[in-house]
Symmetry: C2
Subunit: 412 residues, 2 copies
């Protein structure tokens, strides 16, 4: 039988009724002739509650105990899903991570999957079981301790199972019905994409479109797992959701696939930094140690032996960044005149594999923003993406203007 992987996120299993609804979708795929591996998250709210317990108990917690505690929500959902399927006369059983065993590294709270032996579950399929329900987000370390894969880790679990079992597809059921050209809350012209390339999805995921965990997309790309994102809350059809596929499976597409944004960014500028080799390392080393997620970096042209260095990071990391840089200055590791923080900026990006073969995409973006009177503060580009920092008040305007300019409301 072809194997299908179906993953249900926290909102899709938030109540017993929703678990029943999800189980019906699984039943339909069984009726369609699939053996199904179902990956479940914890009922929504559960993991947050458990994380809250841990953080209140021990602010600097032992990550091994953190994992033992926060993984328990998925165990509950897995058992309840198996019971629900059995009630529908579908042979099913649950597996916890250690029972598979889903082997991971020992990097507790952010473990990486090393191996998923398939023999155990395949034998059950051969014996007539139709659905294996697996608790997502968790695994077992070489030391036999429970590990978790980090937030959103159930997506990664699902993709890893699809790769390990050679699944025909990996369906990610969530509370949105697919990947959009941009956030529909910002413009009603946002259009659901039928298909998107892995590379585009990766950029969109890391740019703040919270549909899929970035690592799950990387994994899907590496193992060529056909990924589908679709809603648990809408009627299912074969055309539902968005397929995430290799670039070569996309026949026609717009040059730009989507407009992404990240609202709470900050821009920090160090003025009159000595322009000498190694200065970037001297600045960004302390920031990395302080766990500041530096995103865009711009270095101005040198002027008389000094330069201005600008970078962006999330707003809530500005205090940490300032402390790290001032400490480094006090310790004589770096030298600058001023540290200027602008905490009122946002990042807007256009993403599309079509950029590789089309010139003038960035220029069109800049023109569009200029025509709206929006000043660009920082620019970065990659092969399939152009990002700009602009004042936060222009976020909606910029997204809407770019969505229009690149014709994203119309299919290619």
């Amino acid at each position: 039988m072809p194997i299908l992987v179906m993953k249900f996120g926290g909102t899709s299993v938030a109540t017993l009724d929703r678990i029943r609804r999800a189980a019906k979708r699984v039943g339909r795929e069984v009726a369609n002739g699939h053996d199904v591996i179902v990956i479940v998250s914890a009922m929504s709210g559960e993991t947050n509650k458990l994380v809250g317990f841990v953080e209140e108990t021990a602010p600097l917690y032992d990550a091994r105990e953190y994992d033992a505690v926060v993984s328990s929500g998925e165990n509950v959902t897995a058992g309840l899903m198996a019971l629900t399927l059995q009630e529908m006369d579908i042979p099913a059983r649950s597996w916890q991570g250690w029972q598979v065993p889903l082997r991971t590294t020992s990097a507790h709270a952010a473990a990486r999957i090393e191996e998923i032996p398939s023999a155990n579950i395949m034998r059950k399929f051969e014996e007539g079981m139709k659905v294996a329900v697996v608790a997502g987000f968790q695994g077992i370390s070489p030391e036999g301790r429970i590990t978790t894969l980090g937030r959103g880790g159930s997506d990664t679990t699902a993709v890893a199972f699809a790769a390990a079992f050679g699944a025909v597809r990996c369906d990610i059921y969530t509370d949105v019905d697919g990947v959009y050209t941009t956030d529909p809350r910002i413009t009603s012209k946002a259009r659901k994409l039928d298909r998107i390339a892995f590379e585009e999805m990766l950029e969109l995921a890391s740019l703040g479109a919270k549909v899929l965990q970035t690592r799950s997309v990387e994994l899907a790309m590496r193992y060529k797992v056909k990924l589908r994102v679709l809603s648990s809350f809408e009627e299912m059809s074969d055309e539902a959701g968005t397929l995430v596929v290799p670039e070569e499976d996309i026949v026609e597409s717009n040059v730009v696939a989507g407009v992404a944004y990240s609202r709470d960014e900050a821009k920090l500028t160090l003025t009159q930094v000595a322009d000498r080799p190694g200065i970037a390392a001297a600045i960004f080393g302390p920031l990395a140690e302080a766990s500041v997620n530096v995103d865009m970096i711009v270095q101005n042209i040198s002027d008389g032996g000094t330069t201005d260095m600008t970078f962006s990071c999330p707003v809530n990391e500005v205090k940490r960044a300032e402390k790290a840089l001032n400490d480094a200055k006090a310790a004589g590791q770096i030298d600058f005149t001023q540290l200027v923080a602008d905490t009122n900026v946002c990042k807007v990006s256009i993403v599309g594999i079509g950029m590789r073969s089309h010139a003038g995409v960035a220029a069109k973006m800049f023109q569009t923003l200029r025509d709206e009177g929006i000043n660009i503060k920082v620019i970065t580009t990659s092969e399939i993406k152009v990002s700009v920092l602009v004042d936060r008040k222009y976020l909606e305007l910029a997204v809407q203007a770019l969505h229009d300019a690149f014709g994203l409301d119309r299919a290619a």
Copy 2:
């Protein structure tokens, strides 16, 4: 280092504050020079919530999935207790049942412990760990599935660990401060016992004094585990609680150790049953199949080839009992004239190892009840116990009168 087992029930770990309070008691025992094995229940209310989920999902549930779901509450508490101890700079880690591994039979939801290998935890003690926190109530079957030990199973887990590790004592922390001569809600003269014999505790446990799970007492008796019951909510002293010990460790004691009761009993009588060999089996076989917990059984003197058969069971099983008996009559397996149910009775019992060597204890009980005008409906006796069924309205009166008559308000 001598090993001490400490078990904390659901109310003792109901909140993070209570877990901290319990951890302080553990810390004191570590300071006293013990290596400690802590057995924890789920936070109170959690297991009931999970059982509710399972029963709502699948009224006739797969007990293997039931176990996978309901065991998760203990995992949360075990991790939180380990974190709390670490915050107090006490080297600690948590173990789930399968990690020990606590091996059980495959009788899901009512599994029995088969083996607790100690090497794993002992090595950690040798490496400097001071506290092993173990999730109670759960184990692993020969098939590698999670099992649970039935309600109150954490007491049994604790005693089994104490036996397996040769612990100096097993302290059961609960919401009462020990074992009383009777329920203090019924008479303020009830007195906490400093010591009680295993056999007495067994009778009291099975008679409805809900301090300890019966199986845990059986296990403690078999392996001579010194058991102490004490409150999590009172200041600790070395004299706190009640010690449950072998009979030979009790130097002086009252003839009667305690008065127990069970409020919601029913008396069923089958009239004019054919008095022939095998009739008891014909009656009680169907009742056992219908899961009726038959307690006392009395057969009247035969009168012209027929007899009356009377038995007691919990009130809420009367309907099931009636159906089983009427079905058996309809099927021609048994014959009787009438089935009379009296659902307004209760059971009152006196328990004490001293009865073995003292005559006239039962007679004194019957006299006491007669003097209060209480009619006795059924009597059963064992070596260390006398139980009577009386009208429920006399329950408090009977308990108080017996407590006075046997001088239980005074120590021996």
